[in-house]
Amino acid sequence: MVLRPLMHIPDGYLSPATCATLYAGAAPFWYTSLRKMRRVLHSRMVPLVSLFAAFSFIIMMFNLPLPGGTTAHATGVAIAAIVLGPWASILAVSTALTIQALFFGDGGVTAIGANCFNIAVVGSISAYAVYRVIAAGSPVASPRRVVAAILGGYVSINLAALVTSLELGLQPLLYRDASGAPLYAPYPWAIAIPAIMIGHLLVAGVAEAVVSGGVVAYLQRAEPHLLQPETLAGVREWSSAKALWATLALLAILAPLGLLAVGSAWGEWSLEDFVTPDSRAAIANASGGAALPAQVPAGMDRLAQRWKAPLSDYTVPFFGDERGGYVIAAFTGALLVILLAGAIAFFSRRRSTQESTYFLEKTIAGFLRALEYASSAEQMAASKGLLQKVDPRVKLAGLFGLIVVAATVSRLGVIAALFGVAFFLAILSHLSFVKLAAWVWAPVLLFTGLIALPAMVLTPGDVVAGGGIFSVTASGVRGAAFLILRAETAATLSALLVLTTPWPWVLKALRSLQCPAVLVAILGMAYRYIFVILQNALDILESRRSRTVGPLAATEVRRSMTTAAGVLLSKSVQMSGEVHLAMQARGYRGDVHVLTGFRTRSADWVWLAGFAAVAVFALWLSAGGHA
């Protein structure tokens, strides 16, 4: 949560099943991208993808003033897709998101698949498609290309947000505890979709459009060759990939079976529907003649036991059971969430010193914060605490396992106990509390707390406090507690990994845990060049600031930001060429060879056993609650 708490899905918002499904959804795209890139680019792929990942990472930290006085940042996914084509863009943006999650704690570790699927895959493909359709055949300098980039940026980020809101809104439909409290993200589609989409349609989408259009306009003037198809010949083609489409078709069939069949989408019927002849006929009709199984599916039966609140008549207590209650509830809920998000933005803005150079200052401050975090993380990882001595592979596997467990268990006490374990490990590893509070606990509490707050009122259930509009329900409170506790626990556990392990050892651990060497090389190189490009960006913006006298108009700031983004983009491409030469000069021919020298000591086996024991114990405790 060091850089951008408002962007990516954190841990604990999606159920493990949803996370796994989205990892599976992103995997065929990663696989196909890697295959395609390798074939066309041979040895150039690793430096090119790494440098673009670093660029995309930096772009996500640019603050932009928007018409109307709000502020937002872009993801750079549309620019990456336009310059690199969809395949390389998927890999580059995924790498950036993975580093954000693994190292900076922005976005959950279990949600890496989800965030990559939403932003990297959906974003890249839609941006590229829109750009290609609109820019088709126009000359490089044509204004049509700028329009194409603007629309590509706007559409792609909104589609990514829509997919995100669908995933989040699915959670309360599928996952509730015995009392009806939502186990993960608490808002159904009726609230999640408008709450997320309004912000993206009005603010984030505009930022993405401004940056994409501005950078393409800059490239037309300064680096037109980057917009020409032959520059990165072969990478940009969107030719058929049979294996990919076949896998996706399979997933499209399997995902609903695994996730949705338990009761939603076209299957929003209740148990009675399975046994009364009339409704059986109606469903069979609607399903194109396919009859329902004679028995109630066992899974559905079990789930139905757990759902006290039927979802088909989702209402807020103070509206009773009126028909219009659904609509009004959704409207109020969305409004509340938006107001709170606005409040966060407002208060973070108040903290700024001067209005005039605010956006430059804020971006520069963000860069410095990232640098400070990185150097403190290195220092902590080098100190002689308890976890620092554990084999990185054991730590990686163990802590990831505990994060998954924290996302799986459905008893608040068990999650709190896991948080206690994480807290205890942090003490024994000499982690600075001030820094943990500033980087992990406070931002998570602020962000997730504000998101969870309206859920206390908006979740149907027995009223425990307040009255009228502010009727706090028991399941609402439980739902909010689940979300906050899970998010805090998972964030603390993943901070434990990063803050006690130097980044190179994290990479080595990934390698020896059979992560493909190419991916690990890309992660390592991208991380390295983040700091080079960050320094470049700092220089550009600080020289801009030093030449600034008096207040800058918002348009002026926007222009200098997009120009800086354009300069960084062309530098990144140039650097990737240079780095490639330097790699070739030392014998690199497309395959990465690495040293993995870990010696597992007996103490590490004890640690592994310890992690496993905690995980199993937590699962056992949680399961015991249902018996």
């Binding site: 430096p47 790494s50 150097s375 290195e378 130097p502 980044w503 190179p504 990479l507 390592g524 190189m525 991380y527 390295r528 060049y529 700091f531 080079v532 650097m575 240079e578 780095v579 030469l581 330097a582 790699m583 070739q584 000069a585 030392r586 014998g587 690199y588 021919r589 060879h593 690495v594 040293l595 020298g597």
Partner: protein, 268 residues
């Protein structure tokens, strides 16, 4: 004498529309010599080094490495490529571009690993090189947290670990403070000899006599002059023409103002 490199009529263009970066270059570099490529910014030194390292391939003309043609198809063959890369090392001007690994240790291990040396041998060599280059304390550090001088030393170490017979060095002292500069030059001088060939590109005339037995002066992609360092450094008019020296006006403590061609070192 054996020639390491023989170039005849080598021309190279970055872009078909631009003026050539290398224009009809013919030269011969003997084994065991220390060569300086002198020239102002943009004169083609770096391009020539990259061509010698088999990274760029000339549009016309030919390069021979120890009598064998050096071209794209040769370098696509594993056996030739491995031999060539093990034999010829290059240090790039900007260490940030050359240092792409997570730690100093990994950085120095990169080349021997890529070239298929056995892992024990790689580790032994890396440790030796770290000690020789006084980098042992830095081995676990990420390169982006090093100072400019340290980065340059790591970049040099990452090439010397292969013990190449030919070293190509692009601007060894660019952007270094005086102490780091002399450290690098001392290492360079200490490493040469025993039949090793060192080719250094620089515009720092003060270095030439320390690092070279023979010089080529480049201007706009051509060889403008060549000869032993003393003779080249004496030809002030040529040096002024190729932009390696300029008129320098300054005031002395006596109050007298005079002007003379500016280069290091100079006597008044």
């Amino acid at each position: 004498m054996n020639a390491v490199f023989e170039l005849s009529g080598v021309t190279y263009r970055y872009d078909a529309a631009d003026a050539p970066a290398l224009n009809d270059i013919s030269l011969r570099i003997e084994q065991g010599k220390r060569i300086a490529l002198l020239g102002a910014n943009g004169s083609g030194k770096s391009t020539l080094l990259r061509t010698l390292d088999g990274l760029f391939f000339p549009a016309s003309g030919s390069i021979r490495f120890r009598g064998q043609t050096l071209d794209r198809s040769q370098l696509e063959q594993d056996s030739f490529a491995f031999d060539f890369r093990r034999c010829v090392g290059m240090v790039f001007q900007n260490p940030d571009m050359q240092l792409f690994n997570p730690t100093v240790f990994d950085e120095i291990a990169f080349a021997p690993l890529q070239l298929g040396l056995p892992k024990d041998e790689v580790i032994r060599r890396v440790k030796n090189t770290l000690e020789r280059m006084e980098l042992s304390q830095l081995q676990a550090r990420p390169p982006h947290r090093l100072s400019g001088g340290e980065k340059k030393r790591v970049a040099l170490a990452s090439v010397l670990v292969l013990d190449p017979e030919v070293l190509l060095f692009d601007e060894p002292t660019a952007g270094l403070d005086p102490r780091s500069e002399s450290q690098i030059i001392d290492m360079l001088i200490g490493w040469g000899g025993e039949g090793r060939t060192v080719i250094t590109a620089t515009h720092d005339l003060g270095l030439v006599e320390d690092i070279a037995d023979y010089c080529f002066v480049m201007e706009e992609g051509r060889i403008a002059a060549e000869g032993d360092p003393a003779a080249v450094l004496r030809d002030l008019e040529m040096l002024r023409r190729v932009n390696l020296i300029h008129e320098h006006r300054h005031r002395h403590e006596t109050g007298e103002v005079h002007s003379h061609p500016h280069r290091r070192p100079h006597r008044h």
